[in-house]
């Protein structure tokens, strides 16, 4: 992870900032320049809710080098509860942490937490972001 590249995503990784379309209300995470639903180009910044449920998941047993010391670990697709009936709920990919990997199920309720995700090489930045814990 090269530092400027990491820095550009900080608002999303640290604060869960998303783009809400001013025309149709669809929330894009990360923010986009064009709304995928209505193609409008005007957005306001909103913060995602931190609670949601697991739609699907896997337990990574053979990990990439950066994560190989952490196996086995769970990665899931999570749908956040945005409390907006017009919205399907924003979805994102995150690790499920601080858990027995065998206790994770589809439908499990989770909460996003702030965690270190990876390191930039052997002597670079610590890179942070969101993981989820079971609630």
């Amino acid at each position: 992870m090269i530092s400027p590249r990491y820095h550009r995503e900080v608002a999303q990784r640290y604060r869960l900032e998303a783009g809400k379309c001013k025309q149709c209300g669809n929330i894009s995470f990360p923010p986009r320049l064009v709304c995928p639903k209505c193609k409008s180009k005007t957005f306001e910044t909103v913060q995602l809710s931190r609670e949601g449920k697991i739609l699907t998941f896997t337990i990574i047993r053979v990990g990439p080098d950066k994560f190989s010391k952490e196996t086995p670990y769970v990665v899931a697709i999570i749908e956040l509860f945005e409390g907006r009936s017009s919205n399907d709920g924003v979805r994102l990919t995150a690790q499920i942490t601080d858990c027995d990997v065998n206790k994770v199920e589809i439908g499990s309720k989770v909460k996003l937490v702030f965690r270190k995700i990876q390191d930039e090489g052997k002597s670079g930045l610590h890179c942070y972001g969101y993981k989820a814990v079971l609630i």
């Binding site: 992870m1 995503e9 999303q12 990360p30 064009v34 995928p36 193609k39 409008s40 739609l55 699907t56 998941f57 896997t58 337990i59 990574i60 047993r61 053979v62 990990g63 990439p64 080098d65 950066k66 994560f67 952490e70 670990y73 990665v75 899931a76 697709i77 999570i78 979805r91 994102l92 990919t93 995150a94 690790q95 589809i106 995700i117 990876q118 890179c127 972001g129 993981k131």
Partner: protein, 396 residues
């Protein structure tokens, strides 16, 4: 404002009828003694010789990531140079694991448009030179919002598998049946990387990679090259060699991140491209006699055979289990052994699928021959389903 509707004339059948007139490939596997360029040139020379053409007007090269695998980009020029065909136009085409299908489509379009008469469509990948293959392949997913958080490609397909098992009661055994069937087919293919059959028990007990996918659910890391000669049907007739007609070429895209898709159990890029392809060819799924599909993981074959319309949604697992997809079944799938057993040198895969269609439709598939095949379909997919290219070929 951008609209999602196509122009009225988009996706129509092209003007000039297009044929595949010659094919060539290297064996797929760990080709320690051969370089990226040697692999490509070997496959291309075989295709040129096989077709009987005395020149080519232009060429396309499919390669997912020469840069990451061997540190070489500008691959169109490298290959034209070493094939000895410079100064013809030579362009590298990339759509991750669908690069080969995209290459064939570009060659098809160039011939169909009348811009060229004879075009070489080739694909190549050299994956065993020591690069971090997991990292390189992961560049086909969303680097910032998927890979950053620790997901791998087996992990992405494992999440599709778990969702499919949850929604449709697809079983772990049904996934394993895909691997067993494809290894059996691959055992009859002299160019396959793995020519050894595997048992259901071996698949079920293989090392877990990303739950619920095990090692034998995954396509391997491979070196290999494949090339075909694409020309007008009129020109093909003059060559007096076996040829097949391209009756549909379609492509579609979807969100790069799996989590952004409308469904986690269906691949929209496949159903959209398939609908266009069937329309172009004037065919229904039931008209197709056999298909090569993108079984990068066993679950992919199950989902794709559903989204191509061969089986009802949710019944792909049962079809793999009850023999519908075996040679001699309702619709044989991956008679070549598929990516699973034949191997998956990423950029070459889509072109190698076309080669299997050509061999089957010209009656050259030996003991894995599908009897009386008139229409074959090739489905090549990029990433976790962010891109898909589909072709339908017809025997003449």
């Amino acid at each position: 404002m951008l609209s999602e509707t196509n122009s009225p004339k988009a996706n129509r059948s092209a003007g000039t009828e297009v044929a595949v007139v010659g094919v060539g490939m290297t064996k797929f596997g760990e080709l320690w003694k051969k370089s990226l360029r040697d692999i490509f040139v070997e496959a291309s020379l075989k295709a040129i010789e096989n077709s009987g053409v005395d020149h080519i007007d232009s060429m396309y090269v499919g390669a997912m990531s020469g840069g990451l695998f061997v540190g070489q980009e500008h691959i169109g020029a490298v290959m034209a140079d070493y094939l000895g065909v410079a100064p013809i136009p030579a362009t590298r085409v990339e759509s991750a694991c669908a690069s080969g299908g995209a290459v064939f489509r570009q060659a098809y379009l160039e011939v169909a448009s009348g811009q060229s008469e004879i075009v070489l469509a080739g694909g190549v990948e050299k994956m065993t030179d020591g690069a971090d293959v997991t990292d390189a392949l992961a560049t086909a997913a969303d680097q910032e919002y998927e890979v950053y958080n620790g997901i791998t490609f087996p992990g992405l397909y494992a999440m599709i598998a778990r969702a499919h098992m949850h929604q449709y009661k697809t079983t772990r055994e049904q996934l394993a049946h895909v691997a067993v069937k494809n290894h059996k087919n691959g055992s009859m293919n002299p160019n396959a990387q793995f020519r050894s059959p595997v048992t259901l028990e071996q698949v079920m007990k293989a090392t877990m990679v990303a739950d619920p996918l095990r090692l034998l659910d995954c396509s391997p890391v491979s070196d290999g090259g494949a090339a075909v000669i694409v020309c007008s049907v009129d020109y093909a007739k003059k060559l007096k060699r076996p040829y097949v007609k391209v009756v549909a070429s379609a492509q579609a895209s979807d969100t790069i991140a799996l989590h952004s898709r409308e469904s986690l159990t269906a691949l929209k890029c496949v159903s959209v491209a398939a609908e266009k392809a069937y329309k172009q060819a004037g065919l229904k799924p039931s008209d197709i006699n056999f298909a090569e599909v993108h079984d990068c993981f066993t679950i992919a074959e199950i989902v794709v055979t559903e989204d191509l319309g061969f089986f009802e949604k949710g019944k792909g697992g049962a079809a793999a289990e009850n023999g519908s997809t075996a040679i001699g079944g309702k619709i044989p799938i991956n008679t070549s052994g598929g990516l699973k057993s034949k191997g998956h040198p990423v950029g070459a895969t889509g072109v190698a699928q076309i080669i299997e269609l050509y061999e089957q439709l010209t009656g050259n598939s030996g003991e894995r021959q599908v009897k009386n095949a008139k229409y074959g379909l090739a489905q090549n997919m990029g990433g976790s389903g962010a891109s898909c290219v589909i072709h339908i070929l017809e025997a003449v």
